[in-house]
Amino acid sequence: MKRAQKPPRLFRETIPSKRYERKILKRIPLVNEREYLAGLYRADGESYVREPELPKKDVAHLKRLAKAIKHNHGLFQPVKLGLLAFVAGGVLLFLLLFLSPLLETAIERGLESAFVARSTLEGFTVRPFVPGVSFDTLVVADRNRPMRNLVEIHSARLELDLGQLVRGRVVIREFDAGELRFGTDRISSGALPDGHPALTGRAGTGQDAATTLRDDAGTAVQDGVEQLLSLDIQEIVDAELSRLETPGVVDEQIAGLRVQLSEAQTDITALQTGTDTLRSDASRLLSTDIRSISSVDQLVVLYESSESLSRDATAFLNRVSTVSSDIAESRAQVEGAIAAVSEAVRSDTSGIQDRIPSAADILSGPVAAFVEPRIMAVVDPYRETIDTVLGAFGWLQQRSEDREATAGPGRSGRTVSFPSREYPRFLLERATAGAATESVQYSAELVSLSSNPDLLEVAPTARYEQRHNGRRAVIAAVFDSRENAPIPFDIDITLESQPIGFTVPNAPFSFIGLTGSFDLTAEARLVEAGGETLREELVAFVRVIPDTLQFSSEGVIVERVRSVIERAGSIDIEVHAPATGDRTVRTNLDDPIREEISAFLSEQRDAIVATVEAEVRRRLDEQLARYDEELSQLSALYADLESYAGEARELADQVFEQRAAIENRITGLRGEVEDRVRAEAEAARREAERRAREEADAAAREAESRVREGAGRVIDSIRSPF
């Protein structure tokens, strides 16, 4: 049997008036519904009463009405409130249960992306009420040495600023790690597998900035030293003598002299013939007694003969003079050749010193050249790590900037600022780690690491200090990526009394290793090198105090090098790699070793030069001896020439005297003849004058007689014209 429907409990048969009016009627806003209810209930004293049994239609109506009354009661919607509380509780529960694992995975991925190596985070727990997080172990592998860890952190606790976290900023007030280790060994490789997202787009990063090591520097130094040690005096002497210019000069000079000697010999022979001819020609002339000759014609003929002989004698003497000059010139050439030979020898011997290698040429910073690539080989991997850290730092800042750029309302309006401290999206105010055992004490501190350092007054700094058995290591770094920061990155490293022991191949001076201790002070930093380009700058000072020195062989140079190191007491290495310009590495051993080797080489060189000079002198004497024969020939020729020339000059003088005598004789004879001719001419003139006068007188008289006859005829004619 179907049970009859009952009206809701709100609509009982009897309802107190106060309740009916306040709880029911007041909560029915529609008039018709109130009227409907008034039709069901009637006032009965202090209450309202309805019929006990109601039709189905009324029951259903009352049910709807009860629902509306219930809805119209109260301000909030309890169902939705409950639903909201349930959802919030569910979310909170979800976060409590799953937030830690989710964040753990996310942090691992982030670290792997930043360091490009396997990262493991264990025991990560979010502590929402602190607020903060903690973890048991964090291990980040070294990408360059996969079987070692870059860093290992144990028992760490981290406190967050909840207020900033709500505002979307991760501000870590305190990070405390109970134990911090670097460079620990790994059981499995820390390299990321191929195709890992962290490897995408990172190929070659850091390699470009890496310094190209001069692996051949040590070998070059060793070659230089070997070159010094292998100097062969005889070989150098032979090489130097093969370069001498003297033999060539001598050969050339002697060849020329021989040609001249041949020509002079011919000339001397001709002079000898000429002398004989001159002598025979002169003997006839000289044998004639001039005074005995009274005939002018004979004297003229004799004079003409003497004149011809004088010309021949003069020409012969000129020839003698020419030949003499030629011989003198040849002699001068010989003497010049000897001087040239001497000059060539002097030049040859003086060039020897220049051609013998010196220590300065070969040993330009022998220790520095060997040390430099090894130091840079140690430094370069850390430069790559620094690049990685700075890259992760930049990534953090970039992500922060991108997210901040999308914030802000879309509508117009103004933003009014109020005094406040603005935090970056990520800030690690202070992180510390430290531990102390009986032998080792270390502490690490990281301050003000943030995604936007421009919002902070101090630059991010990191410091690590370790003491172990009296040794001390301090590393302090500043990552100042604030705008206009003069030095974006600066790291200072101080190592004291650190043990050192190594062996090296191809080291100069047969050096193979040492043991001892060293101190290191280094500062590396990034500086602006024009525009936005950043360059690394490194200044480092290393002092190695050797306990034992090992050399592969012994020798003079090795002994001297060893003594230099022992006298120095330490090996001081100063590295200066400026942002622009050449890198320089200096050591305190370079100059002393170079001086020591220079002294050794000077001794060797002096010996070589002395030997070469002696040999050159000996060979010079040999070469000069080759001139003796030519000189003696020249002297003989010169003597012959002088003989012939003397005789010719004597003959010529006699001929000239004879010619003068002939001239005097001819002059004397000419006077007598002239007087006689003059007297004869005077007599003839007188005779002619007498004859002329006689002829003139005769002519005059004849003319007078003719004139007289003529005049008589004229007179006659006049007197007797007819």
Binding site: R27, I28, P29, L30, V31, E33, R64, L65, K67, A68, H71, N72, G74, L75, F76, Q77, V79, K80, L81, L84, L162, G163, Q164, V166, R167, P409, G410, R411, S412, G413, R414, T415, V416, S417, F418, P419, S420, R421
Partner: protein
């Protein structure tokens, strides 16, 4: 949109307090004036879901009035700037600005305090006006509208019948959801 209109019509005719619709209108004005995307707006929006206001009317009016709010941005900016620069409130605003949730409220954006002040000031008049309108509709206009020849003719159209059916189902769902 049709469902929204249906819910509005259903709310007007339902056995609900007029204050629910009136407060929905007031909230809608406040939400429309306030720039979205800040904690104040989000809180008010959640509040609308939690208190007994007519959600359909609130959402519909918010959607309608929000574009119109751009027209009064200048006034809201002036009011908001005046509020933010009141000397007596500077310490409070500074505290609020540095409070964890302060910047999330966007209170330092002039439109937010301007709209908040304007919305609160307008809340009560809008509430009473809307409630008076609902009462007027229910007491006088509703019967007249229903009995008007046009509505009678309209009610006989097949499509309107189907719409009525849909509206009835929507109303039942609406009532079930509270």
């Amino acid at each position: 949109m049709f469902a929204m209109l249906t819910r509005v019509v259903a709310a007007l005719n339902a056995n609900r307090r007029p204050g629910e619709i009136a407060s929905a209108c007031s909230f809608a004005v406040l939400l429309a004036l306030l720039p979205a995307g800040n904690l104040i707006w989000a809180s008010l929006f959640v509040l609308v879901f939690l208190v007994k206001v007519n959600l359909g009317i609130a959402l519909l009016l918010t959607a309608i009035l929000s574009p119109m709010a751009l027209l009064v941005d200048g006034i809201l900016d002036t009011v908001g700037y005046a509020v933010l620069t009141v000397p007596a409130l500077q310490s409070f605003f500074t505290w609020l600005y540095n409070a964890p949730l302060g910047p999330l409220t966007g209170f330092n954006q002039t439109l937010v305090p301007g709209a908040l002040v304007a919305g609160i000031v307008l809340w009560i008049p809008v509430f009473f006006i809307a409630r008076a309108f609902v009462q007027l509709y229910r007491n006088r206009l509703r019967v007249r509208i229903i009995r008007s020849p046009f509505i009678q003719w309209l009610a006989k159209l097949p499509i309107v019948r189907r719409l009525q059916g849909a509206a009835s189902r929507a109303r039942s769902i609406y009532e079930w959801a509270g």
